[in-house]
Amino acid sequence: MSSQPSDRPIAVSLQAVSKLFGVVKALDNISLDIYDGEFFSMLGPSGSGKTTSLRLVAGFEQASSGRVLLYDKDVTGVPPFDRDVNTVFQDYALFPHMTIEQNVGYGLMIRKLPKPEITRRVGEMLEMVRLPGYQKRKPSQLSGGQRQRIALARALINHPRVLLLDEPLGALDLKLRQQMQIELKAIQREVGITFIFVTHDQEEALTMSDRMAVFSHGKIEQVGTPTEIYERPRTAFVAGFVGTTNILSGHVAERITESAAAFSIRPEKIRLVSPDAPNESKTTRVGGTIRDVIYLGMTTRYLIEIDGGGDLQVIAQNTETDSTAAQATRGQRVDAAWPTSAMRLLDVDNRESGA
């Protein structure tokens, strides 16, 4: 882990945890510390182990080996109903036969709080998720976004020390999702508890997290702040999965860097310059032809075929370009140039990149 050690208490600690389902290894000896009060994301493709890790913390699965600690207390074998942790499920899991008030107040009802107390707290919670007055409705009468907020309210009302969110925004459309991302972040700051957020959307993770872990095939590839993950990816997988990138290795890399080691260069870091333009210091430059142009409104994506083999994706903002001008560059000879320091050497690993 490359992040700074913190003097905040450790909320959740996974220590050498492995999880097997039959012969399938869902988690392979992972270790992870999550600090109190942080918004922590677990990012990865389907089947990478992120959801399994979450369920281990919640108590729905038991680790095959290793330990799970909540605030320094070993909770291996402790059932979910005895853990001070609450979950927001991917399908919201609202109880269809109960009203919103009964749903949100469920945890309090189990704790045998007096009725007027429950009513009061439910009212406060619904205010917080901006759905006041919805007490008597049923989940079937609510939209997806509303159900999501009720699920959140139902979990938060119990004042858990850690809140787990299992891809809660997956079913929402883009605009709603972006709005909810902002709201969730605001609520977390206000309430101050630890959020552990599972998602396969790297943009979401980058936007919301204080720190994040990238999962692949049951292992953690890298843990760090969003900046660290994006700017200084350690492996080809992380570089490819988080944002798009160009990964060059072997002969192609050798021609550019005089080393066959794999490196990554982000498309937005590359500029297209005329082959006649003078060289600049601390800049790596390589010649090629524009093979394909995709106009994306705000930006244009160019596919450059490098002289001597290899491709580069370049993303340029359309400050002075429009669709026609962009398309006209097809077939032109051009130089791709980027700051040498923007190149990232990658760990030698035979992992697939996700570019």
Binding site: A58, N86, F89, Q90, A93, L94, G107, I110, N158
Partner: protein, 266 residues
């Protein structure tokens, strides 16, 4: 297959065959209705010479009819309750896990209804006499409960499989123990299918005659009573009225059960 297809109209021959089968299924029930009102006492002449409602009165005077009816209701109620409990336990155990003996257990549950009634009947009878248990109302109930388990099991297990498992996890996540989760979340979810299965079991038990004949001592349930009437030529229309009675009593839970399972699946 969906309702509308390429050629939207069925060929006439198919329609006739289909509805012919339907009429074949139902016209005997109409006949029973008719013969409950015939004025003739000991023959089945068609068309009936006259219509009367006197047989209803005569039936209701018969004490043995009321005794038989009471016994049938008692047996059906208790057997159904036992079947509901056992069927639900099995359904809860089997609906998610797939372990070694699961298919065997399912087969075992179905067996009482798959094997001919006479096999079950004789088996139970010889077992009871071997052990030395006298034939009482309870032996009848034991037999009925055994083959009623499957109707409850089928209904409850189907409903359980359709339940979102995340609800159960959410309940536990919010602090409810397994028992509390069952009480507040699972039970309300399966309530209608449990009731539907119970109603089907009730109808099954109320109508059963073969296994009952073997497991009863001197007691007469309503089907046994009807059977004994069948072989006696007197008071035939009275038996007709009783038959009508039985149809009415079994129709109601069937329709109710059907609507309950339909609602639950929507």
């Amino acid at each position: 297959m969906p309702s509308k297809d390429l050629s939207n109209r069925a060929p006439w021959s198919l329609k006739i065959a289909a509805f012919g089968a339907l009429i074949f299924l139902h016209f005997p029930l109409l006949i029973i209705l008719l013969y409950a009102f015939t004025t003739e006492e000991s023959s089945f002449r068609f068309p009936p010479p006259g219509l009367t409602t006197q047989w209803f009165g005569k039936l209701f005077e018969r004490q043995d009819f009321w005794d038989a009816l009471g016994l049938s209701l008692q047996v059906a109620t208790i057997a159904t309750s036992i079947a509901m409990l056992l069927g639900t336990l099995i359904a809860l155990a089997l609906y998610r896990t797939s372990f070694f003996g699961r298919d065997t257990i399912t087969l075992l549950v179905i067996l009482p209804i798959a094997l001919p009634g006479i096999v079950t009947g004789i088996a139970l009878r010889s077992a009871f006499s071997l052990i030395g248990i006298p034939f009482t109302t309870w032996t009848i109930i034991i037999g009925h409960a055994t083959f009623c388990i499957v109707t409850v099991y089928n209904n409850v297990v189907a409903r359980l499989r359709r339940t979102q498992h995340s609800q159960i996890e959410a309940s536990m996540d919010l602090g409810a123990s397994t028992w509390q989760t069952f009480r507040y979340i699972v039970l309300p979810n399966i309530a209608t299918s449990l009731l539907a299965g119970g109603m089907l079991a009730f109808a099954l038990s109320f109508d059963e005659v073969i296994v009952t004949t073997f497991t009863a001592g001197q007691q007469e349930t309503l089907p046994i009573w009807i059977f004994s009437q069948l072989v006696r030529p007197r008071d035939r229309p009275v038996t007709n009225v009783a038959a009508l009675f039985v149809i009415a009593v079994t129709f109601i839970p069937i329709i109710a059960a059907h609507y309950m399972t339909r609602e639950a699946s929507e």
